[in-house]
Symmetry: C2
Subunit: 253 residues, 2 copies
DNA sequence: ACCTGAACACCGTTCAAGT
DNA sequence: ACCTGAACACCGTTCAAGT
């Protein structure tokens, strides 16, 4: 694709170099490939993870994807660990840019938390294989419990609640309940998605039997229900319950 | 070191072989080191992770810890991935051996789930740096939603509920609610523990200011509360709420 | 200014060879 | 039977050198 574009822009069918024209028009330098750039690197890493998984992400492979040798990446990224951190920052940034999420809590804290939860869920579902990084990378502020990454996110959350009548203690308690809720639900949902469930693994309720089920009669009996995906509905329901619980915290603390 | 031991045990200072004496006493072969063994390898890996973190776990280092070259490990473990899976199995096994957890649900499903939850939490807290593997390793049964590892665990859970009046549908719904609850709470709790929080990171409420807090006034204001660890109490409280919710599921489904 | 070749230390893993 | 030496392919990372 990139070579294709390059061909089209550097010479036309008659062999005329038309690079000059492009420059005159103020476009990118003919096709001396766009110089590398930190954001482009992080995006490519994200793409790779979603396509092929975190385990195969390699500085060398990432370089190849960008038509560059691995060493070039180090001009823009201090190292692989920092690259993974940068991915997390992009994911969190996506959340913050979402206008749905960003909107101030004018319609009350319940609406605010609803939008926040759905915003995080959208990001998680859009990047199922990368999302677990958000939970596993060492946090920006380790003294913060729970140590979710991104002080920006925490600030948004706490100031949102405090602006709608939460006491300091209630806001902190709400923060804890909300984050563990999101983590549990989204990590599980995302891990079913990332599992690359082969069509043969669906375990039809036909007469054929998975040998592993011989010693697990209850799992076998309930296997149809266990295979169904009700993640969306369960998320809504559990979120509703959570908001009720936070409402109690709000008036009690 | 290894050659040193060998010298000391196979011959004494006068050149007498003393291996026979040891054998006569019925002890381990003098100290020709205990032959390797799959369980010993997995235990050593667990120890290494808790001491030094998953990132530094290496077949070569693991070999060194066992006074053996890395290649020897491959006689007992097919590869590094399988080793990580084996660690998860040990953790889950620990849970199942806990008599507190294992006891049949004779005192009702609420007591049963209480014991189960606390059993899982004990294991998580005992191995904070290894526990995240339970959530991140690809599951034994990918068609199972959520895909928690270990069919044994799922079987225990479901048959426990079904033996105390849960319909099939209610048991499945309860399973989903329970696992996402445990995952969220324990991963967050364990990640605060594993963070190796330096004493300087506690962020005293003294007058010194972390520069990162300049743009996060609410976090700064609430930092004392955010640093406190109420994980145990919050776990109990949230578990109580969860059991209430499951009670509703039980009668409704 | 931006990229690369060559190099270094360290991986996971295999296999023929040692004891 | 159990372990190791030597080797292979592949990592992350550095740095002097190329354009």
């Amino acid at each position: 694709m990139t070579p294709h574009e390059r061909e089209l822009t550097t010479t036309d069918a008659d062999g005329h170099p038309d690079a000059d024209a492009a420059i005159v028009l103020g476009e990118d330098p003919p096709s001396a490939r766009v110089p590398l750039d930190r954001r482009r690197i992080v995006d490519a890493a994200l793409e790779h993870i979603e396509e092929s998984g975190l385990a195969t992400l390699t500085m060398r492979r990432l370089g190849a994807r960008l038509d560059v040798e691995a060493m070039s990446l180090y001009r823009y990224v201090p190292g692989k660990e920092d690259l993974l951190d940068a991915i997390v920052e992009i994911l969190i940034g996506d959340m913050h840019e979402d206008p749905e999420v960003l909107a101030a809590p004018e319609c009350g804290w319940q609406d605010f938390l609803q939008r926040l939860a759905h915003g995080v869920r959208r990001v998680a579902l859009a990047h199922p294989k990368s999302f677990p990084l958000v939970a596993s990378r060492p946090p920006e502020a380790p003294w913060l419990r729970p140590p979710l990454r991104s002080l920006d996110w925490v600030e948004t959350f706490l100031s949102g609640l405090c602006s709608d009548g939460f006491s300091d203690e209630a806001a902190v308690a709400g923060y804890r309940a909300f984050t563990s809720f999101l983590l549990g639900h989204l990590l599980l949902e995302v891990s079913s998605l990332g599992a690359d469930i082969g069509p043969l693994d669906v375990l039809e309720d036909g007469d054929d039997e998975d040998p592993r089920l011989r010693d697990h009669p209850t799992v076998r009996r309930l296997r149809r229900g266990l295979g169904e995906d009700h993640a969306a509905a369960e998320f809504e329901e559990a979120l509703e319950e959570l908001l009720n619980r936070i409402a109690v915290i709000r008036v009690e603390l």
